[in-house]
């Protein structure tokens, strides 16, 4: 079992240092024209924990998420992932180094089968290079391994029966599951989930939550953006709150919800959000 008491002694303040951070961001600024969308002084994610990134609409969560995964480029700032610098690294290299993301609007590759979606997630397939692609013996062994791994994951995510269907025929929730399973094909160190619960029906949310907790048990680190306070409360070890582009609070879910600045930020946006009770 992962040790979640490791965060116990940490101060509940934004930008606080963690004992063993896997992801560190420093002085990240992203401006669009005159508008500063993200201005985060310092942020660390503790290894092998589940960290939630929350905040009212327009707080810059998704932009920050895109910056961390290199899908967007910051004007200023630096960061490291597992010790390696993140600045000016292309998104595919970030993914290869072990930090894989999903998208708020699910990006299942709809014209392809569920199985091909999964296979595409695997790394180190020599057949993905043009010259070796001509000679199947050079890549068919790896293809069998990848297929086997995909079978295991599809069983686990209850998509095995759908393996030959096109991804376009899946329901919204199933696509979320597929996207997560596909991300796991690369055996990542860290999984970044952008609103994993958005548009998922209640029956599937429970199993999605279990899957996320399972990732931690397998030694991975999870950072996820979420609106649903209830979900955040249930699974996260640590919560970071953003408002107006800045990190305004950090701490365990219970403490953060009581924070005056957090309540103000939410009340400024949604008068009807009841933080104390969750959603």
């Amino acid at each position: 079992m992962p040790d979640t008491t490791v965060l116990d002694g940490i101060a509940h303040e934004p930008g606080v240092a963690k004992p063993d951070p896997i992801l560190v961001a420093d002085g990240v600024v992203r401006r669009f024209g005159g508008l500063t969308a993200v201005d985060v002084k310092h942020f660390e994610v503790q290894r092998n924990t589940i960290t939630a990134l929350i905040g009212p609409n327009g707080a810059g969560k998704s932009t920050f998420f895109n910056l961390l995964t290199s899908f967007d480029t910051a004007q200023e700032g630096s960061g490291t992932f597992d010790g390696d610098p993140l600045r000016k690294v292309s998104p595919h290299k970030v993914a290869r180094s072990g930090m894989v993301r999903t998208f708020q609007l699910t990006k299942a590759l709809e014209g392809m089968s569920v199985m091909d979606n999964m296979r595409l997630g695997a790394q180190h397939q020599p057949g993905e290079s043009l010259l070796t692609a001509f000679v199947p013996p050079l890549w068919s062994k790896r293809e069998r391994e990848v297929t086997e791994q995909a079978h295991d994951l599809l069983h686990r995510f209850k998509l095995y029966a759908k393996r030959d269907d096109s991804a376009g025929s899946l329901s919204g929730g199933q696509r979320k599951l597929l996207e997560m399973a596909r991300a796991l094909m690369s055996k990542p160190k860290m999984v970044m989930l952008d609103e994993p619960m958005a548009g998922v029906n209640p029956a599937l949310t429970e199993s999605l939550l279990e899957h996320i907790v399972e990732l931690k048990h397998e030694g991975m680190t999870v950072l996820f953006v979420e609106h649903d306070m209830h979900m955040v409360r249930r699974i996260s070890d640590w919560v970071a709150v953003m408002a107006q582009g800045q990190l305004i609070a950090e701490g365990p879910a219970g403490t953060v919800m009581q924070n005056k600045a957090v309540q103000d930020a939410y009340l400024g946006e949604h008068h009807d959000t009841d933080l104390s009770e969750g959603n």
Binding site: V100, K107, L109, G111, M112, G127, E128, L130, A133, A183
Partner: protein, 324 residues
């Protein structure tokens, strides 16, 4: 009866093969990867120039082929470099502009010593080496209702070479599209950000697709040149649009789509022309209007295919190459 035999003949001309080859190239671009290359005629023309000029200047045929392919590789690198990171229609505009530049430069009087200007390069300057390899006799041969020369120009030999090349390239497409490499391209076609998030270098894959499709287009140009001549104006925008019509008609992303498309396209065009000539009186459709009339129908056919059957004859509606 003559009309039908003529249409049947059109199905297997070197020109039909050349367009099938160009469409196989475009299938790598658009069918597999979703790239909007609107300059396939430019790749074909560069192939023709590279090949014909090399042979005229005394290089052996295999080297001339390498020059033709090399020209296409350089062209692809040049076009892909600025555009493959941008939205799809930028590639469309840049490729069409660049292929027109190739044509303008090729037909310009400035380079008349190299490209032959608007008159182009004559067949005798470059057709020799391939025709010398012909195992067929140097005379006209009839098989059934079809009569062609054995070895020279629009010959039996060229038909054998052209369709063998078609078969070879179909094999290449089949092998690659069913490999992990092809899977990455199909993923890019569906959603390139998703593929990026899975650790694939999308830019480089798009570049590879652009280049390999362009090289195949150049080979199509070489076959076309052997069937007729090297003339810049034959490779204008309409040529690119025909290749698109052929690919979409046959079915993008399918293995046999380009060949089926090309065969149907040329046979249908020949039928339309012949029927129009035969049955519509001169007072309504003068003979000078038959050519534009036929090509107008090509345009209308392209609209109808794209709107009502975007998967073409052979395609699968689920695996459409068009994405918003």
């Amino acid at each position: 009866m003559d009309i039908l035999i003529n249409a049947l003949e059109q199905m297997f001309t070197p020109a039909t093969a050349a367009f099938a080859i160009a469409a196989i190239g475009l299938n790598f671009h658009f069918g597999l990867t979703g790239l909007l290359n609107m300059g396939q005629a430019g790749f074909m023309l560069l192939g023709m120039y590279g090949y014909a000029i090399s042979i005229r200047e005394g290089l052996p045929m295999w080297l001339a082929l390498l020059v033709a392919m090399g020209a296409a590789i350089l062209f692809g690198l040049l076009l892909g470099w600025p555009t493959l990171k941008l939205r799809g229609d930028y590639l469309a505009i840049v490729t069409i502009a660049a292929s027109e530049i190739v044509r303008y430069v090729g037909r310009s009087n400035t380079l008349v010593d190299v490209t032959g200007g608007s008159l182009g390069i004559k067949g005798k300057d470059y057709k020799g080496p391939l025709e010398e390899l012909s195992p067929f006799p140097d005379e006209r041969l009839s098989v059934g209702p079809f009569t062609y020369h054995g070895s020279a120009s629009d010959s039996w030999w060229l038909r054998v070479v052209a369709w063998s090349l078609v078969a070879l390239l179909l094999l290449v497409f089949w092998r690659l599209s069913n490999s992990p490499w092809g899977r990455v391209l199909k993923g890019i076609r569906e959603d390139e950000d998703a593929v990026r998030s899975l650790g694939k270098n999308v830019y480089w894959y798009k570049m590879q697709a652009l280049i390999i499709g362009g090289v195949i287009g150049a080979l199509g140009g070489v076959i076309w040149a052997h069937g007729s001549a090297v003339v810049a104006d034959a490779m204008g925008r309409p040529t690119t649009f025909w290749v698109w019509t052929i690919l979409l008609l046959g079915g993008a992303a399918t293995v046999l789509g380009p060949v089926v498309g090309s065969v149907v396209f040329w046979a249908a065009l020949s039928l339309v022309r012949a029927v129009a000539k035969e049955f519509i009186p001169e007072s309504i459709l003068p003979s000078t209007a038959i050519e534009p009339f036929g090509l107008m129908l090509v345009g209308i056919a392209l609209i109808l295919i794209v709107v009502f059957r975007p998967q073409g004859i052979l395609g699968n509606k689920k695996e459409l190459a068009f994405h918003a």
